[in-house]
Amino acid sequence: MSDLTQQEALFTYTLRLADNALILGHRLSEWCGHGPFLEEDIGVINTALDLLGRCRMLYSYAGEVEGKGRDEDDLAFHRDEREFTNYLLMEQPKGDFAYTTIRQFYADVWNLHFYTELCNSKDETLAAIARKVVKECRYHFRHNAEWVKRLGDGTEESHQRMNDAIAEASRFVNEMFEMDEVDQVMVDAGVGVDLNVVKEKWIASVDQVFADATLQRPEPEYDRSGGRKGLHTEQLGFLLAEMQYVQRCHPGLQW
């Protein structure tokens, strides 16, 4: 039996999902005004807005579950690096458009399968959020799968850039399927999702799109992990410094 209460587990579980959405959305929003052409600039921001909306719902719910009166902004702006629980992949710098595409695609596939499963959660709030989110995920997946194909099977340069991006991202992939105590408590309670199931589907979806894109998914030489324990790469600190600075300079104010 775990020492973790169900409430604590649910809080952490929800917080992790929120952190992933916030940090990934943050990286994506860095493209605003700098996209490869105007249409894609707008498209990228639609996805970033979806992620931002998602993190707000999840933070609000996490705050509610925790019951200490923390709201979405307390959770987003007043926690330090060691308290953030997103996967390492999400916090990596946006890189070139190939890296952004691969990272986003990996996350989209994960989100699509994860939230599809989460629709069956016994926690009604999470299930309701999942039912909303999964619709967004389907579009994100479609949009980025198309980009993976275009860049993978486009020009020699784009193919090379995609291979570089895949190599660069590969060490962060397996972290997304690790199960820890929180996951186990949530799965046992019928609230959470078995990430082994997500992994199987993730691999199948990625491989299918990669086949069309003339790309290959390498087995990583080694895995990096630790995001969920707050053991991040050095990138997150800079991201948070930028994101949180106004709130931290002027705490407790209305904006």
Binding site: F37, L38, E39, E40, I42, G43, N46, R142, H143, E146
Partner: protein, 95 residues
């Protein structure tokens, strides 16, 4: 470096079921699927539609302003095609 530009597509959006698709602008995209996605991203951000058509601009055949007289003016004198042409006494119902 040769600058690369994407072709132009015209976008038609149906605002709700039962309505016509209406021209609302254009996007640049490399192919049909991309044009469709960008039409969605650009022209339905505020729930403006539930169905989209895109067509590559070069495929549209349009009448010319010079056709104006020959095409459209012959219809002008066919007033008998309009209901208001006919006098029906006011006490006749359901006309």
């Amino acid at each position: 470096m040769v600058d690369q530009y994407l072709p132009l597509w015209e976008v038609f959006v149906r605002s709700k079921r039962g309505m016509d698709h209406k021209h609302c602008g254009s996007v640049h995209a490399a192919d049909a699927e991309q044009a469709l996605q960008y039409a969605r991203d650009v022209y339905t951000r505020r729930s403006e539609g539930n169905s989209i058509w895109v067509v590559e601009a070069t495929h549209i055949v349009a009448s010319q302003p010079d056709d104006q007289e020959a095409f459209f003016e012959p219809a002008d004198d066919k007033v008998y095609r309009h209901a208001t042409f006919y006098d029906v006494p006011a006490d006749v119902k359901h006309m």
